[in-house]
Symmetry: D2
Subunit: 327 residues, 4 copies
Amino acid sequence: MNNQYAVILGNLGNTCDRFLSTGYKDTLDKTQMLEQAASIEGVGGIELVGTWDITPQTVESMQAQLSKLNLKCASIIPDHFSQKHWGRGAFVSKDSGIRKLAVEETCNMIDAVTAMGGDLINLWPGQDGYDYPLSTDYIQDRNWLMETLGECANYAKTKNVRLSLEFKPKEPRNHSYLARTADTLLIANALGDHVGVTIDTGHAFVAYENVGESICLLKQFGDKLFHMHFNDNYTHWDDDMIVGSIHLPEYFEILYWLQKTGYEGWISMDQYPYREDGYGAIRSSIQFLQQLDSILKRVGMDEGDRLLAKRDPVATSTFIRQHLIAH
Amino acid sequence: MNNQYAVILGNLGNTCDRFLSTGYKDTLDKTQMLEQAASIEGVGGIELVGTWDITPQTVESMQAQLSKLNLKCASIIPDHFSQKHWGRGAFVSKDSGIRKLAVEETCNMIDAVTAMGGDLINLWPGQDGYDYPLSTDYIQDRNWLMETLGECANYAKTKNVRLSLEFKPKEPRNHSYLARTADTLLIANALGDHVGVTIDTGHAFVAYENVGESICLLKQFGDKLFHMHFNDNYTHWDDDMIVGSIHLPEYFEILYWLQKTGYEGWISMDQYPYREDGYGAIRSSIQFLQQLDSILKRVGMDEGDRLLAKRDPVATSTFIRQHLIAH
Amino acid sequence: MNNQYAVILGNLGNTCDRFLSTGYKDTLDKTQMLEQAASIEGVGGIELVGTWDITPQTVESMQAQLSKLNLKCASIIPDHFSQKHWGRGAFVSKDSGIRKLAVEETCNMIDAVTAMGGDLINLWPGQDGYDYPLSTDYIQDRNWLMETLGECANYAKTKNVRLSLEFKPKEPRNHSYLARTADTLLIANALGDHVGVTIDTGHAFVAYENVGESICLLKQFGDKLFHMHFNDNYTHWDDDMIVGSIHLPEYFEILYWLQKTGYEGWISMDQYPYREDGYGAIRSSIQFLQQLDSILKRVGMDEGDRLLAKRDPVATSTFIRQHLIAH
Amino acid sequence: MNNQYAVILGNLGNTCDRFLSTGYKDTLDKTQMLEQAASIEGVGGIELVGTWDITPQTVESMQAQLSKLNLKCASIIPDHFSQKHWGRGAFVSKDSGIRKLAVEETCNMIDAVTAMGGDLINLWPGQDGYDYPLSTDYIQDRNWLMETLGECANYAKTKNVRLSLEFKPKEPRNHSYLARTADTLLIANALGDHVGVTIDTGHAFVAYENVGESICLLKQFGDKLFHMHFNDNYTHWDDDMIVGSIHLPEYFEILYWLQKTGYEGWISMDQYPYREDGYGAIRSSIQFLQQLDSILKRVGMDEGDRLLAKRDPVATSTFIRQHLIAH
């Protein structure tokens, strides 16, 4: 396996939050951001966010830029979260016009990704959820969700585009409908073979999932891991930190299971370097994963198999000291 | 709907933890505990835990006691957690003899519940999980889980017994295999119509689930809510507190959705009154739920429907002040 | 005690987050927001945020508007968080010029609050913290913190202004220096009698503090509770929700202890109604607290005393059912 | 600095929890456990728990065993948690007789540690807290706490024994009175120079503290770090795992700050290897810390200083990849 790394373009740009809405850094132009991404060793793909990075009008020019830099369009993430009209939900808005718009935006981005030679849409319905107990009708909402996502899936099928659903327990809503691996898998399985799941490592940590186990679950119930987003956090919030800032054995385990289950998708960076240099943060994250990957190659999958078969945390601890930590 | 209340018998007895293993209270005898349960208004059923409350040898005498007190056997929870041989897993033990024993214990309890006129087994594979990253083979473990639970399901089917799988994110393992509503639903759906899911409100709170939404999810993906355990907590750990000690709107929402989705199972108390009077704790929990139920009856389901259709948290807040809180 | 309610003015305006930086709602003008605040029964004070609501240049016009509406300036919250130059810290910036600016901004707002007839500055050094392990020098940072806050305290003393330090475990930094009640109290005690602590109920919930206990701690170690911000959340993040949306007994307990300890400060609303009507959210929060306060008056402090002396959770549960929940 | 390692004796023995109260493992005898501890390279001290490991009657025989194995008594942890009479509180029990007993137990153990040539008592008032909102009088409780701990401190002073207070946010109570670094420091500072604070790394993780920062806080407000307990967890519960199973940069940072602040106490292991081999778990934890310590020696404190002065997470990430992780 040679891992293919990708970057969500916005990682390299300016960042804001609710307290500092004008942003922590200066705004880079897209061309610079693309050149930065291309200059990181191992990066072969870019994920583009609708509205922010790409619209139907800019498909050609963006594709020209990517080609020039020898980058592929790893996926498009349609915008269902960054504009006021999505604020109270997109696929699950109580306004049928908004729901229709959510489907349209997806279909437009399916066309766009096709035009760019890609075949993956990463859907993150971040505004589809609720904030308060006793404040919505979960049955109706989920019916809308299945219906609107179903329309997207139908259109995607006609274009041979795969749809990967990205879950997150919360933020920007206090509760999301696509919240964890298994609930998202239920939906993917209902929508067809070309619909799968994206694991964002940080989202899974916040859900108290062990990502290695989540990868296996998706393998066993339909071979549904379509895409991976990488970042690190303290497990209590989607801090979107540099990979390897907090966790170590878990990332090694992730790489082991990706290889074991035959994952052939992207290893994509999805971070929010609020105050850090974006380029440095992304590059360091990829270098961390490359370092672990090289350890995995040296140690060998068989050695990993033998360790796991022992089911002995003392042996695991010895393995960590011997193979993962510097001497 | 007239809710049927049940009690897990052990709630009324002694309790211990890892620091005070001999127990916080004096040990009551089973007969007293049964009489206490029977004396609580609304209680019609008892859940019995294998080993602790019932073994194949005591089925008849227990059934005699229950009958005398006009109590039904609401369910049996086979013991897969309280003895040393289960300590490293039951259905997922790496020892095939233990896995076989886990199935046998379940089948024995299927026979027992049948003999007692019940038809529900609540399976809680609490020791089936793992504690450390990089310490087990998730694929192999889940294969074992599906295989052993499948054998239990097959046997249950021959006896017309329903199997309800109870999830919990952690404790006693740092990670459980049956961890959340949706992952448990995936398994239940794979095993047959007579296999469903138990929601323990506290376990769901710890998983950051909104129980109302979880009830709806189970309704929509197979009508799989078979059983309910009630307790309260601070949402960070399975504190197993008196119902209503922390939360209010969420319990009201739960009762609304149970009625809305046509739930006809038990409302069973599952608490751990470490230092509190067990009888008082259980009785007060049931009285809390009865009080909310009576509010729900007075307000009416239509009013609830109208509130939820608004999707307006300010309206929800007004509803809480007007209907749920004393004036 | 007749509680005096206040509102942070921005609660009534537009809101944004990192995904929807242009805001979820339309922007109201300040005059409308002030009129809305004034129209809520019980509101007598306004908290103003530096930069957003007030600058040295607008002190007079703002004071004129407040007077006209018969509102007091409850406090000023100097801006140490909303502009790019604060992004890597204010009082603890490694740039001495920024640290100086943080003190100056505070002194300017001390002058402003004095000019408006107020005597309270609420300091929230939200950007003073760190994001990653191994990424800063905690000793140096805390020395800077004590030095810069000390300069603010010295100036405040000359103006008879009280300084109230608001803590929060995290956000916008992954770790804040003023993180919990006790660490903030240590600093307040070191800086003088006129320096105290603000409890934001939501911040304390996120720190897993019981606010009732925190109020008592501040009473016992120097009588240091200077100010209170109210909002609700799920206890895992500063969701800034309508008060009473999640918790009930805890708010009642807070009102009990505020009265018991002789708190004479403001009951101020600090929320973030991202998608809700701001006016409705704030009004409903105040009505919730007024409703609890009226229950407390009816029940009486003596009854509360007797309950707490019992140290019996079953009695507490009975109290909740009898006095706090509708029949 | 040559770190001195110690072990809490019980780590090597049997373990139980609320579901499996008879224990996950076989019970070793004390002599075997002591021999195991002595055989781990670097271990020079043992911490003894009252009741479990030592009573006034066994002081001499225990001391004889320790001497024979060339082990020191690193501390005694008096038993205020493992017997039924402590179940509703020790220092804060509403029963004055129990409070007196709590002081007596402490004084007895002060005598015992003196007789054994030690000078450190580690006090963990684990049962002193509360479980429910509205269920106790925090003012009264804290007065009792200050009074009873004060009596212990007075007696300790006469014996030249240092008292180190160990905090933990929760468990076995839902809320502990000694919950975090800063609240415990407040009490230590009130009780005298010979009273300090124990940081248990896992307890601090659960409190969302950064231990490096906590060490610095104790340094700056009175030089109050008296003792350290080491274990690892997922940060949501006191999982008491092998050190280094989850975290890496944070342990390196801890070792850096211990050296920087001139800590001269013990590095003591406090774990709960429920299902793991106790000896292996403890030995591997110490080996992990020794490995990090040797990296720190090689890298040098100056290099650490330079890194922290940069306040640049990208530089931190590079440092982690270069120095902490294997190549």
